[in-house]
Subunit: 205 residues, 2 copies
């Protein structure tokens, strides 16, 4: 039965009291004018307390020791029920309790794509994904992956029921590749899309 | 009473039935193996039906006709109750019913910062901000702002109760500026952070 297209059976209102993974909150706050205001937002219930951050995304910079291919990165294709489509994202995952963000970045890249990072080149501060709507936060780890020679796709270590497709993309072709995905009915993650837009703009200026 | 620091008075659980702006949903779906699974997510109640997109963010490329300053962009500082801090973001807003995304981009830039875009350089496809947790979606508009000569900060057209501070940043200094904000206790939006990371990486490769 593997490799069917996922299909949504039903979408129903979820009472906050029955939700396991996320919840709704109401904030009462005083604004800059001292006026009392209300704000509604959604919150994950899973944030690891020690790390203080929900998740980490991984931008891999893949090079060949023999320059057998241009500097590349990895994107993944993954079905996301809230959108009902396959989304193109950076490899990413939630931080486990007791785990550092750096360890989670290297672990998630390995599990989802099979690629082994040899070092973290840069770790962003804690950033917020959609701060008008949720308190969800994340860090971006830019990691180095060095291959001996030509590109060979390693075996990922997916859990049962995890269906993730790995795609290696030349960094110079990233924006074009994302546009092609969009035309084919995939949807691109906004953070990945912003990364690609920044990459292209720097080359154009 | 203006220019106090905002302060959270209380944060309480919000029953889905009482929420006005967002809601929780439960999806029942069949995965690639044909196995029935559940997923929880949050949804905005405000999406304009015609546009099919929640919001638009605006990356302004500001130039001077006399080259009086380096190519720059605009970020805003805005208090976000779900985070309880000031967030550094691109100018952005929700699409009004009956409005195009392009019109909303130019309108929001004008209202929030006072700057007038002369044209849209690029409009991203519809992208998703945090697709594991919400169906929230957005587009990024890269717009051109041309000033006659030196930088002069225009007057924004903020609504009563809107407190947005505009900051013009040289594009080459964007990542450093965001890091400085983080050190001072601000929090940077993940999409803006990814844009800056892409911009810097392109210059380093």
């Amino acid at each position: 039965m593997a490799h069917n297209l996922p299909r949504i059976v039903s979408t129903t209102d979820l009472p906050t009291s029955e939700a396991r993974w996320i919840t709704l909150k109401k904030i009462k706050y005083l604004d800059e004018d001292g006026k009392e205001r209300l704000w509604e937002y959604a919150e994950r219930k899973t944030r690891a307390k020690a790390a203080g951050v929900d998740g980490v995304a991984v931008l891999a910079v893949i090079r060949s020791k023999t320059n057998a291919f241009p500097v590349s990165t990895i994107v993944i294709e993954q079905y996301r029920p809230p959108i009902g489509k396959y989304i193109i994202e950076l490899p990413a995952g939630l931080i486990d309790e007791g785990e550092t963000v750096e360890t989670a970045a290297i672990r998630e890249l390995r599990e989802e794509t099979g690629f082994k990072a040899d070092k973290i080149l840069q770790l962003s501060p804690i950033t917020v994904s959609d701060p008008g709507m949720t308190n969800a936060n994340m860090q971006l780890a830019i990691v180095s992956v060095v291959l001996e020679d030509k590109m060979e796709m390693p075996e990922p270590k997916l859990e049962a029921g995890e269906h993730i497709i790995t795609r290696v993309v030349e960094l110079n072709m990233l924006q074009g590749t994302l546009d092609d995905y969009d035309k084919k009915g995939f949807v691109v993650d906004a953070r990945l899309s912003h990364f690609a837009a920044g990459f292209i703009l720097a080359q154009q200026l």
